[in-house]
Amino acid sequence: MNQKELIEYIKNNFKGIENIKSIDEKQFSITVQKERIINILSFLKLSNFKELALITAVDWIKEEKIEVVYILFSYEYEQQLIVKTYIDRQEPSIESIKNLWEIATMYERDVHEFFGIDFIGNDDKRPLILHNWKDIPPLRKDFDSLKYSNTIFGKFKKDKE
């Protein structure tokens, strides 16, 4: 199946897709509602999108939303698929997909640490990379790394000549 047929196939077999966009000839993205994320991902896994390349998130602070991104790849069709969903920024939570892909546990732990997203069903919330972190999750847009560094390490002073 090429990309056009694949988009048709997904559109015909899965209800509730909000938006499909082709990025280039080997890559396209689809947007779904937060409640449908497990359904769409298990449907896609059964449709030969077997590799979960990455789970990540984007903080859209002006829209008060966080975008959760799942990047899949199909070895059969050689297509990269970006699945997106939007969640509330104040109480970010989404269902975990660790039962679909075991590797999602670590990706979700990573995203939880850097964006503060609660993955329901994934109880592994131990710090992975940031040990003893007390500030807000650092990849959120309202976290100012310069201010943080100034308070922790003191203001940068130029050496006197």
Binding site: I23, Q27, L52, A53, T56, Y75, E78, E102, I129, L130
Partner: protein, 378 residues
């Protein structure tokens, strides 16, 4: 013994201890650690402990202009930095619809293959060092220096080159550089026979590597293993061939693959890909056309990238190295997520495969899987 190790309890036969494998272990590659629960010499549980190398690149790029980041991102990966510049530049070119001149694509191909060769040479040394054949690591690091000399001549820097820019490359090949590269390639070709005798035909290495950390095809795909490790299980998939970037679609080459999926197959796969890289450089040097090396680009200080998102991946020495880049139409990247080649292998597969192995196998397993901590601790 009990001062070094944490005593955890007793099972039927043995006492169980916790062992910190790294960050100061000589067999560990980089600032990373596995906390092993050991029962005698056998590993019962593995928990990876990254975080010692975290530099916050994903946050830092959000504060800098699109072109300022070129100086920052090669620092993500030490053994093979050029892949970062390539992924980043390709992402910008895809978002802005910039066409790269053909000569620049060929130069990029040559530079990327040279970086791959130097990463593989690091890997040869890793296998040598962890099996006790220190000669291999001395040889490969000194051979890598010939490539670094060429990089210094071409780009002015030995390790972090900042040579591949959006729209092309920074400068054309200097006079006499191509001839010197050909000499180095011929030299490395000759040395490969020596490496065969030293490592790949060595009964000691074969005995240690055979059956080590064997993974099946389905498990590898399920766990997101890519690159040489996936090819060693029999999946003939290479991003250079299937989703071509740079000038790989204009160069004719075949992808080697193995079937066994164990440590020996992975080591041999890397050796075969070393040969492939030498061949690709030779073919690229033969076909390289004349012409400009950089497309016309706007003022770097006022450079804005149209709104959009793109996932760009390339084949690194460790597998799929990719960025997910989001632009909001501004002069800085809105979000950049890094997916390193050995993320899943080092953090997740290790917890499954290393259970039941012996302590001395951990370093060797890491060398054959080419685990690189900056991939997940970026």
């Amino acid at each position: 013994m009990s001062e070094i190790l944490t005593y955890l309890g007793k099972d039927e036969e043995y006492e169980v201890y916790e062992l910190f494998f790294g960050p100061n272990h000589p067999g560990m590659s980089g600032n990373f650690s596995y906390i092993l629960t050991v029962d005698g010499h056998t590993i019962k549980k593995v928990s990876p402990d990254p975080g010692l190398l975290h530099r916050g690149f994903e946050k830092l790029v959000e504060r800098r202009l699109w072109l300022q980041n070129i100086a920052l991102i090669p620092r993500i990966c030490v053994p093979e930095p050029d892949i970062n510049e390539m992924v980043y530049s390709t992402a910008i070119e895809k978002l802005c619809h910039i066409d790269v001149p053909l000569r620049a694509s060929y130069i990029r191909t040559i530079v990327l293959e040279m970086a791959r060769l130097s990463a593989f040479l690091f890997g040869f040394g890793g296998i040598g060092g962890t099996t006790g054949l220190y000669t291999a690591s001395y040889w490969s690091i000194s051979d890598r220096d010939y490539l670094l000399d060429l990089f210094e001549w071409l780009t002015g820097a030995r390790v972090y080159h900042m040579y591949i820019l959006p729209g092309g490359v920074r400068r054309d090949l200097p006079n006499g550089w191509t001839e010197k590269l050909k000499e180095t390639i011929d030299y490395l070709q000759k040395r490969l026979n020596e490496y065969d005798r030293l490592i790949y035909n060595n009964p000691l290495v074969i005995k240690r590597l055979k059956g080590l950390g064997k993974i099946e095809k389905e498990l590898a795909i399920e766990y997101g293993i890519t690159g040489p490790n996936l090819k060693a299980t029999g999946v003939k998939y290479d991003i250079r061939k299937m989703v071509p970037y740079a000038a790989y679609d204009k160069i004719d080459f075949d992808i080697p693959s193995q079937n066994e999926g164990d440590g020996l197959a992975r080591a041999i796969q890397r050796r075969e890909e070393f040969q492939l890289s030498l061949d690709i450089i030779r073919k690229a040097l033969k076909d390289i056309p004349d012409g400009p090396v950089r497309a016309n680009m706007p003022n770097p200080l006022k450079f804005k990238v149209p709104k959009g998102e793109v996932y760009v991946k390339i084949e690194s020495a460790r597998g799929e190295h990719a960025y997910y880049i989001v632009s909001d139409g501004g002069d800085k990247p809105y979000r950049m997520a890094v997916r390193g080649g050995s993320y899943t292998a080092g953090l997740i597969l290790a917890q499954k495969v290393l259970v039941g192995c012996r302590i001395e196998d951990v370093a060797l397993w890491m060398a054959t899987m080419d685990i690189c901590p900056p991939d997940f601790d970026r």
